[in-house]
């Protein structure tokens, strides 16, 4: 018997064999998660949930009399000092009650409104109960000495039981089903299998595809906003907005920490004590906090001061070999030294480098559509210009897969006089050329031949 090989040639003609070990390792990992989840759930069920359920459903109700009071002691070892013990005290009552006509006496520790505490607190809790008081208790018919004075559910326990083992069981179970589903299957077989089991793959991030066009991104998000003059208004792609949001969140959280530290230091100062270590820590924290607010405000001003850029287009999706009208609208005030519009084709690849996931973009084709110089903008009257773009007849269509993409876009570059230059990106979707019907192809071929003759 030959063992599977761990490595194989990537392309061409080759023998392969490492897949079996990979699938086995993956399946084992998910199996361990599933078993851990089941074990955890079993422990919680048998140790806490089942006894609680029995108290609420199987214990029998009976009147009882308090005939004694006491404290149960629970010793626990301190974590930081070896050998030292601390005691916790729990109030408990000695109860007398009838079980099938016979008198029974037993201690009950599950008292309403009591918990383990230090000895004085436990004694104070015990004072609320008086000897010879008549109460209602519930006893276990299988073990009449087991008696409680309170019933009900601890909802935190049930939530914990659902969340922690539940997450392990769902993640491990779905992963195991997925591993079993692909066991021994080639990558082509796995890719060809579709349907419900695909939903079990939590790591599947395949992009949405246009109908009948595999690998071409769907363009629903680009045609859901009508234009004022042309048919569609193109959405803007602005990674700067996310950066700005991230900066804002960082500034907010950082300064919240600074405020908490500063309040603590201020209270100490008012109380007449000065914690020099805290003050020394506070200084760099305050500096970073002020810097983060300044950077965020600068980004906010730059993003909002220039004015919005809007693009409208006459049709979408686009096709190679066809022309489209585009309307540029630039708001704001002041003078723009230049405003240029370019049509670009960009390749994007996502890959792993060590433990990092990196994305790289390359502009592989670029054409300047138009350029405007010395534009004077006034508030409430945006600059508008209509231009025409042409998609080359042999251009690659838009393409997207999980880790690779070929994207078309219009980029508007602006150089305002008083503000830094900016670039705004408007994605486009280009479909493959429409296949000419055979009859029209033949007609075209015949007319060409007639032209030659």
């Amino acid at each position: 018997m030959r063992l599977p090989r761990f490595f194989g040639k990537k392309r061409g003609h080759r023998r392969t064999g490492s897949q079996a070990w990979g699938s086995f390792g993956e399946g084992l990992f998910y199996c361990v998660l599933l078993v851990a989840g089941l074990g955890f759930a079993g422990l919680l069920l048998s140790g806490a949930a089942a006894p609680e359920w029995r108290v609420n459903h199987e214990f029998l109700e009976t009147p009882c009399t308090i005939i004694g009071k006491g404290l149960a002691r629970y010793a626990s070892q301190e974590a930081d000092s070896a050998g030292s013990f601390t005691n916790k005290w729990q109030p408990c009552l000695r109860l007398r009650y009838r079980v099938a006509g016979a008198l029974h006496e037993s201690w009950s520790t599950a008292l309403p409104r009591s918990s383990r505490a230090d000895r004085p607190t436990a004694i104070a809790q015990l004072a609320a109960w008086r000897l010879n008081d008549e109460l209602t208790c519930w006893y276990d018919p299988a073990d009449p000495n087991s008696v409680v004075l309170e019933r009900g559910y601890n909802w935190w326990l049930w939530l914990l039981m659902l969340l922690l083992p539940g997450a392990l069981i769902v993640f491990g179970g779905s992963g195991l089903v997925q591993a079993i589903r692909v066991w021994g299957k080639s990558e082509e077989h796995r890719a060809a299998s579709a349907g419900l089991p695909e939903m079990l793959d939590p790591m599947d991030h395949s992009p949405s595809e246009a109908p009948d066009h595999p690998g071409v991104p769907i363009c629903d998000d680009l045609i859901n906003s009508p234009g004022t003059i042309l048919r569609y208004r193109l959405p803007i792609e602005s990674p700067e907005s996310w950066t700005l949001l991230g900066l804002g969140l960082f500034a907010m959280l950082w300064n919240a920490v600074v405020i908490v530290l500063a309040v603590g230091a201020g209270l100490d100062l008012l109380g007449g004590t000065i914690d020099w270590l805290l003050f020394a820590l506070l200084v760099p924290f305050v500096v970073v906090g002020i810097a983060s607010v300044c950077v965020f405000l600068r980004g906010l001003i730059l993003a909002t001061a220039v004015g919005t850029t809007q693009l409208e287009i006459s049709a979408h999706p686009l096709r190679p070999g066809e022309q489209y009208d585009v309307l540029l609208g630039q708001g704001g005030s002041g003078t723009f030294r230049t405003l240029t519009m370019t049509l670009e084709l960009v390749e994007q690849a996502t890959f792993r480098q060590g433990t990092d996931t990196r994305t790289e973009q390359v502009v592989v084709w670029k054409e300047q559509v138009n350029a405007w110089h010395d534009i004077h903008l006034v508030p409430n009257a945006r600059f508008e210009s209509r231009v025409r773009i042409f998609i080359p007849h042999d251009a690659m269509h838009s393409f997207t897969s999980e880790h690779n993409a070929v994207n078309w876009r219009i980029v508007v570059h602006g150089s305002p006089e008083r503000w830094p230059a900016f670039s705004r990106i408007f994605p486009l979707i280009v479909f493959p050329s429409q296949i000419a019907p055979l009859a029209s192809k033949e007609r075209s071929h015949r007319s060409r031949q007639e032209g030659v003759l």
């Binding site: 595999p214 994007q348 690849a349």
Partner: protein, 148 residues
């Protein structure tokens, strides 16, 4: 007619014949492939044969894959050594077209994969072109590469 025939030492030989010259197909064209499998050692037994037409990406990014046609044969009467030749037909889709980019490449191929009873498999891959997109070219000033 275009033919592809390669073999590794001590491995089976899979020959694939395409019905279009230069293996160039238009979108929605009919792809007819004939294949033959030879050179299987006497001590090896084929458990299954998979035929597929698929696209995959090459380049800087992780590889992505899309299967357009897939057929798995496990019936012993249709497997080597009983049957060593076969053919299949598939209508090609509208996209994605073959593309030779700078960091993203899209390739179409026919794969014939043999599964042996000892658990190993052998795959033979035969590339063809869908569409006629010219390769992306680097301009004299070079492409603008941006890491995001």
């Amino acid at each position: 007619m275009s033919q592809s025939n390669q073999a590794l030492v001590g491995s089976p030989t899979v020959s694939v014949h395409f019905d279009h010259s230069h293996r160039l197909y238009e979108p929605q064209a009919r792809l007819t492939v004939r294949y033959s499998i030879d050179g299987i050692a006497d001590d090896e037994r084929v458990r299954a044969v998979e035929l597929s037409v698929l696209w995959y990406t090459e380049g800087k990014g992780e590889e992505d894959l899309g299967v357009h046609f897939f057929e798995r044969m496990t019936d012993r009467e249709r497997l080597p050594p009983a049957v060593t030749v076969g053919s299949f037909v598939s209508s090609l889709p509208l996209s994605p077209l073959s593309y030779e980019g700078l960091i993203v490449k899209v390739r179409w191929c026919v794969r014939v994969r043999l599964f042996f009873t000892d658990g190993r498999d052998f795959v033979s891959e035969h590339v063809f072109e869908l569409g006629e997109i010219p390769p992306a070219q680097t301009k004299p000033d070079g492409p603008a590469i941006v890491s995001v």
